[in-house]
Every structure is written in C-alpha cells, then in structure tokens.
C-alpha cells in the first residue's frame, strides 16, 4: 500500500539552528500539506502546496518557514531559526486531487528544540 514517508522520525536541534524536515509523498499525488501538533494541542494546518507554489498558508507559517519540492519525489519544510515553541510533531500529507478528504498522512517528525 502506498504511503507518505517522513524523515527523520525524531530531530533534536538547538534554538536558532535551521532544520529541514523531509517528506516523500505518494507518487501520483499532486497536492502536499504540512501540519503540526504541539504536545497536548490540536493538529494545526501550516501550508498547502500545488504546482510548485504555496496555495494557502496559516498565520503560523511566517517568514521563518519555507517549503520546497526540490525534485520529483521530495517535499521539504525548512525552519530557518528554530524557537523553543517550534517543538512539535510535524506531519506531511498528500492527496491526488486536492480534496482534504483524501489526504494521506505520514508518520510524523518529532522536532525537539532545546
């Protein structure tokens, strides 16, 4: 069964450092998303991406965040200068036709900023 793959599963970084979270979406999917879940809080939408550009982003997705599809298979989330409050589970999702109803989620990357 096709699946969304995220690496690493756990990333520890020092405050102020840059991190890149990587995702390999399902191969025939065209729409890509990043969500995050701070421990004990709701899953929050960060950004959606289609046709090599951002379709929508939340207020959380400020200038410290960027996304990229550097090749035909990877989808990355970069945080330029991490803050303690960036510590969370980050989930990548993809869908074929863009309907949020059919989005498949990866296992998540746990980011810990110390």
């Amino acid at each position: 069964e096709p699946e969304v793959t995220q690496t690493p599963s756990h990333q520890v970084t020092q405050m102020g450092q840059e991190v890149i979270l990587r995702c390999v979406p399902i191969s025939n999917h065209l729409y890509f998303y990043w969500y995050r879940q701070i421990l004990g809080q709701k899953v929050e939408f960060l950004v959606s991406f289609y046709n090599n550009e951002i379709s929508e982003k939340s207020e959380i997705f400020d200038d410290q965040f960027s996304v990229e599809r550097p090749d035909g298979s990877n989808f990355t989330l970069k945080i330029r200068s991490t803050k303690l409050e960036d510590s969370a589970m980050y989930f990548c999702a993809s869908s074929q036709q863009g309907a949020a109803t059919e989005a498949f989620f990866g296992q998540g990357t746990r980011l810990t900023v110390v």
Binding site: Y35, S55, G98, T101
Partner: protein
C-alpha cells in the same frame, strides 16, 4: 467560541461496547466532516468522511452529521481492543481544491479486553 470542540476523554469501555464520539463546531461554512484515528506516535489515518448532513456507515463505524445542531458523531459497534487510539474529528469549508482541515483536540479511547 472555538471552531471545533471535542472532549479529550479519556474514554474507557469494555470490549464489545458501542462507543459514541462527538464534536461540535461553530463555523456554519463547514461542509466536509472527517474522522481520523491516530495510534500513539503515528500519523492520523482517515476513517470516514461525510459531505454535508446525513449518515454514513462502513463496517462497524457509523458517522453522523447534524448541520442544524453543528454536531457530528462517530459510532463504533462491537468495539475491539485494536480500536484503542485517539479519534480526531476534522472539518473543512470546501472552498477550492486546497481545503485546509480544522481539527478537534481528539478523544483518547481505550477498549479493555
């Protein structure tokens, strides 16, 4: 008022029980209603979705949407220990193809053998 509210539980039931999970919402523009299951340290897995009002059944799972009351439910019949997980409701307004999901907090369910 929060957009989506969900009682976090925990909810503990014996094996075989009928489980009822619920969410309320405030945004009348929501049209797509989803239920996800999340096991510990895993990503959310889509269980069911419903468009607008009505019921949808899939095996032991039934999803109900009451738009007049802004209330959605997920029923699990003949619950099994393998159903133990966190159940999250999520909703979207349905504008365009990049509909972002608005999530509930999730309800932690434990089904005891």
């Amino acid at each position: 008022q929060k957009e989506v509210e969900q009682d976090p539980g925990p909810l503990s039931v014996p094996e075989g029980a009928i489980v009822s999970l619920n969410c309320t919402y405030s945004n009348s523009a929501f049209q797509y209603f989803m239920w996800y299951r999340q096991y510990s340290r895993k990503g959310p897995e889509l269980l069911m979705y419903t468009y607008s009002s009505g019921n949808k059944e899939d095996g032991r799972f039934t999803a109900q949407v009451d738009k007049s009351s802004k209330y959605i439910s997920l029923f699990i019949r003949d619950s099994q220990p393998s159903d133990s997980a966190t159940y999250l409701c999520a909703m979207s307004a349905g504008a365009g193809n990049n509909r972002k999901l608005i999530w509930g907090l999730g309800t932690s369910l434990a089904v005891n053998p």
